[in-house]
C-alpha cells in the first residue's frame, strides 16, 4: 500500500488548488494535489461568468467590493495573458425591482473608489427599463488559458508537485502530527498540512475529516454560451441589482456568456449537504456524499435559454442579438450569511494547527490571493 509523504496536501484542482500548489512549490515545498475528476478546471473554475471582479457586482456590500477592487489590479498584472480587456463592460440599474438605483450605484462606485462613467441608458436599453447605465472597468478571464499557464508553471516542479486525477478520497484521519488522506483503492498520502479547496465538495471533505461543515446552500447553475451578433461582440452588459441578467464575453473564447439571477440557478438545496432529486437517477454516481460533475451528467436540467434570452431581449435594444450555442452546468455553494447583503466573502477556516487543516470557500477568482497568508503560515 502506497503511502507517500508531502509537505502539503491540496484537495481540488480548481484555480484555488493549483494556485496553492504553485505557491507552495515556489517556496520549495512538496505538494500533492488530489482531484476526483480526470482533469483540472472542469467545474466551477471553468463554469462561471468568468468575471474578474472589480467590485461593481456588490453595490450592497462595500467590503466585498473593495476587496475585489484591491485584488483586481494584482490579478490583471499576474494573469493578464488570459484576461479579455477588449470590450465595453456596461453596468446598468433596472428602473424596476432593483435594490440599487442610479444615484446609489454612482455613490457606491465613488465610495469603493472604482471608475464609472455615466452613459445614456437609451443608447443600450429599451425605453424606461434602466434608469442608469455606466461604462466600467471590468474584464473576463479565459479559464483554459489560465489552466495552460498553471500546468506549464507546475511542470517546472516535476519532483515536488504531484497531481493525482481520478482520486476519490474515502478517508481522512489524523495520525500524530500528520493527516493521512486515502482513496478507496488503497492509495494514501500524508502531510502536516491539508488545504481543502474542493468548493462545492467542501462539506463532504470536512465531514470525512470530522469537522463542522460550512453553512451553505447549493445551487445547480447554468451558464449559457452564445454567439454574439455584430453589435454585441465587443460589449458586455450587466443589469443590476435584483432578478436580472448579464451577457458578456466569455474569456477569449469568442463566445458570450449569458446568465440570469432568476434562471441560472435551476434547483437549490438549503441543507449543509447537497440533496437533489436528480441524484436518484444517477444510480449512485452522484449523492450527498459525493457530487458528480453536473456538466457531464445526463440528468442535468433542460436549458433555461428561452427564459434568459427573453429577459435579455426585454431590456436590450434589438440590435444586440445573439444565438444559443451551448449550456454549461455546475454546482455552486453559497454561504448562507450572504443572502441579505449579497456579499461574497472569501472564507478561510483553520481547523487546528500542527497538523493544520484549512478549508477555503470563495466564489470569486481574483480573491485567490487570500490564500497566501494561510499557506505561508503552515
Amino acid at each position: 500500500m502506497e503511502r507517500k509523504r508531502a509537505d502539503k496536501i491540496i484537495i481540488g484542482a480548481g484555480l484555488y488548488g493549483l494556485y496553492a500548489a504553485l505557491f507552495c512549490c515556489r517556496r520549495g515545498e512538496s505538494v500533492v494535489v488530489l482531484e476526483c475528476e480526470d482533469a483540472p478546471f472542469t467545474r466551477a473554475t471553468y463554469i462561471n461568468q468568468a468575471r474578474v471582479h472589480n467590485g461593481y457586482h456588490y453595490p450592497r456590500s462595500l467590503s466585498t467590493a473593495m476587496k475585489s477592487a484591491g485584488y483586481f489590479r494584482r490579478f490583471n498584472e499576474d494573469y493578464g495573458f488570459c484576461v479579455n480587456r477588449a470590450f465595453d463592460q456596461i453596468y446598468a440599474t433596472s428602473s424596476r425591482y432593483s435594490w440599487t438605483d442610479r444615484a446609489q450605484f454612482k455613490a457606491f462606485c465613488r465610495a469603493a473608489g472604482i471608475p464609472c462613467e455615466e452613459l445614456v441608458p437609451g443608447a443600450y436599453f429599451k425605453d424606461g427599463l434602466c434608469d442608469g447605465a455606466f461604462r466600467t472597468t471590468e474584464y473576463t478571464y479565459d479559464a483554459k488559458m489560465l489552466l495552460a499557464f498553471f500546468m506549464e508553471e507546475l511542470g517546472h516542479f516535476k519532483n515536488s508537485c504531484d497531481i493525482r486525477y481520478g482520486f476519490r478520497i474515502s478517508d481522512i484521519r489524523k495520525d500524530g502530527r500528520r493527516y493521512v488522506v486515502s482513496s478507496g483503492d488503497g492509495q494514501s498520502f500524508e502531510a502536516g498540512f491539508v488545504l481543502n479547496a474542493a468548493y462545492a465538495g467542501t462539506n463532504q471533505i470536512l465531514a470525512m475529516a470530522g469537522f463542522e461543515p460550512f453553512k451553505i446552500k447549493y445551487e445547480l447553475c447554468e451558464i449559457i454560451l452564445c454567439d454574439a451578433g455584430e453589435a454585441l461582440r465587443d460589449v458586455g452588459f450587466t443589469v443590476m441589482d435584483g432578478p436580472f441578467f448579464s451577457i458578456m464575453p466569455f474569456g477569449k473564447t469568442g463566445f458570450h456568456s449569458l446568465t440570469a439571477v432568476a434562471f441560472t440557478p435551476h434547483t437549490a438545496c438549503k441543507g449543509p449537504v447537497p440533496v437533489f432529486p436528480c441524484q436518484e437517477k444517477t444510480g449512485g454516481r452522484c449523492s450527498e456524499t459525493f457530487l458528480a460533475n453536473c456538466n457531464a451528467c445526463p440528468e442535468r436540467p433542460e436549458s433555461a435559454y428561452p427564459y434568459m434570452s427573453s429577459l435579455a431581449h426585454k431590456y436590450l435594444l434589438d440590435k444586440y442579438n445573439f444565438s444559443y450555442r451551448q449550456s454549461l452546468y455546475s454546482m455552486k455553494p453559497i454561504l448562507l450569511s450572504s443572502e441579505i447583503d449579497d456579499s461574497r466573502p472569501t472564507v478561510i477556516r483553520l481547523f487546528g494547527k500542527d497538523p493544520t487543516f484549512a478549508a477555503v470557500l470563495s466564489g470569486k477568482i481574483n480573491t485567490v490571493y487570500d490564500l497566501d497568508e494561510v499557506l505561508s503560515d503552515g
Partner: protein, 338 residues
C-alpha cells in the same frame, strides 16, 4: 487532456429537436392578481397552467400576492409543485396595494412577448377563451380584452356610462376578466405615465389597435354562485369604489364640469340677486332684503364648497400620484419552479 476537457463541456443541446412543432413559439407571461383567494387560486392556477403548457413552448406565470392574509401564498406554492415546463413566480406585496399597482408590479417582472393580465382568480369562461384572445392579438391587436357577455352590475353600468359621458375620448370600456398585452403596448403605456392609476383607461387610449372579445359566461367549476366570489373582500370592495372615483376625476372632466356648472349658476344667481337688490333698494323696502341676502349666501356658499371639494380632490390626487407610493413596494420574489 485539453481535448477531453473540450469534448465534455462543449456538448450540444438542441432546442429545435423538441417535439413541440404545433406549439406557439412566442414566449407568453401570465400575471394573476391574488388577494385572499385561497379557495379559488389553486384551481385557477392549474387551469391557466394547463392551457399555457398545452399551447406554448415556453411560458411563465407570475402570481402577485397582494398581501393576502388567508394563506393564498401556500395554496400557490402547493399548486406550483406540479408545474411542468411553465415557470411560476410568486411576488408578495409588502402591504395592500390594490389591483392596479399590484398588476403593474407583476407586468414589470414579466418577460414575455405577450403578457396576460388576469384581474381576478375566477374563471367564469372556458379555458379556450384564453387562446381565442391570444389568437386575436396575433391578428394585429396590441390589447385584447375578454369581457363577459352579460348584463353588468348597476354600479359598473353607471360608472362606465358616466366615464364615457364626461370624457373627450370614447373609451367604450366594459367589465373585463382578463386581457392580453403586446410588449409594444406595455412599453407605450409605461412611457406615457410614471404612475398608472387605472390601466384599463390607459390601454384604451394608448393609440394602438385594441379589441374586446365577448364570451359566454359559464359557472366556474366547484363554485356555487356564479362570480359571487369576485371582489367579495371588504378591502377590495372599498378599493374598487375609491378607484372608480379617482378614475373619473383623472380621466374625465366630471370635476371640472361640475365646478364650471356651479360657477356659471352662481354667476347667474349673483347677477339676478344684484338686480333684485338694486330694484328693492330703488323701491325702498330695504328691510325685506334680508331674505334674499340669506338666500344668496346659502347658494353661493353651497357652490363654493362644491368647488372646494373638487379642488381638494384634485390636490389629493396630485399628491398621491407625485409623492405617495410613486412605485409599489414588494416584499420578495419567490421563484417556485424554473
Amino acid at each position: 487532456m485539453a481535448e477531453n476537457f473540450d469534448k465534455k463541456s462543449f456538448d450540444e443541446k438542441n432546442f429545435d429537436k423538441e417535439k413541440n412543432f404545433d406549439k406557439e413559439k412566442n414566449f407568453v407571461s401570465a400575471v394573476i392578481y391574488v388577494h385572499n383567494a385561497k379557495e379559488r387560486i389553486g384551481a385557477f392556477l392549474s387551469r391557466v397552467r394547463e392551457v399555457l403548457e398545452k399551447n406554448f413552448e415556453h411560458a411563465e406565470i407570475i402570481c402577485v400576492n397582494d398581501a393576502s392574509d388567508d394563506g393564498s401564498a401556500d395554496a400557490i406554492r402547493a399548486c406550483s409543485r406540479c408545474a411542468g415546463n411553465v415557470g411560476i413566480t410568486l411576488v408578495t406585496m409588502s402591504f395592500f396595494h390594490g389591483l392596479e399597482l399590484a398588476m403593474t408590479a407583476g407586468v414589470d417582472l414579466a418577460i414575455g412577448d405577450f403578457v396576460f393580465e388576469f384581474d381576478h382568480a375566477v374563471m367564469d369562461y372556458s379555458p379556450d377563451t384564453i387562446m381565442a384572445v391570444y389568437r386575436r392579438a396575433l391578428e394585429g391587436y396590441d390589447v385584447v380584452s375578454a369581457s363577459p357577455d352579460k348584463k353588468e352590475k348597476l354600479s359598473s353600468r353607471i360608472f362606465y356610462r358616466v366615464f364615457d359621458r364626461f370624457s373627450d375620448y370614447s373609451y367604450g370600456m366594459a367589465t373585463e376578466s382578463f386581457r392580453i398585452l403586446s410588449r409594444r403596448a406595455i412599453n407605450r403605456v409605461s412611457s406615457m405615465n410614471e404612475t398608472i392609476l387605472y390601466r384599463k383607461a390607459l390601454y384604451a387610449h394608448c393609440g394602438l389597435p385594441i379589441d374586446t372579445q365577448k364570451y359566454e359566461p359559464v359557472r366556474p367549476e366547484g363554485e356555487a354562485g356564479g362570480s359571487s366570489g369576485r371582489a367579495s373582500d371588504k378591502r377590495e370592495r372599498a378599493y374598487r369604489s375609491g378607484l372608480a372615483v379617482d378614475s373619473l376625476i383623472v380621466f374625465t372632466k366630471i370635476g371640472y364640469r361640475f365646478s364650471m356648472m356651479m360657477t356659471v349658476g352662481m354667476m347667474l344667481i349673483s347677477i339676478f340677486v344684484l338686480g333684485y337688490t338694486v330694484i328693492t333698494y330703488l323701491t325702498a323696502h330695504p328691510v325685506e332684503g334680508w331674505t334674499t341676502t340669506v338666500l344668496f349666501l346659502a347658494v353661493s356658499f353651497f357652490g363654493l364648497f362644491g368647488i372646494l371639494t373638487v379642488i381638494v380632490k384634485y390636490l389629493q390626487l396630485l399628491i398621491d400620484m407625485v409623492f405617495k407610493r410613486k412605485h409599489y413596494s414588494f416584499e420578495n420574489i419567490e421563484k417556485l419552479t424554473k
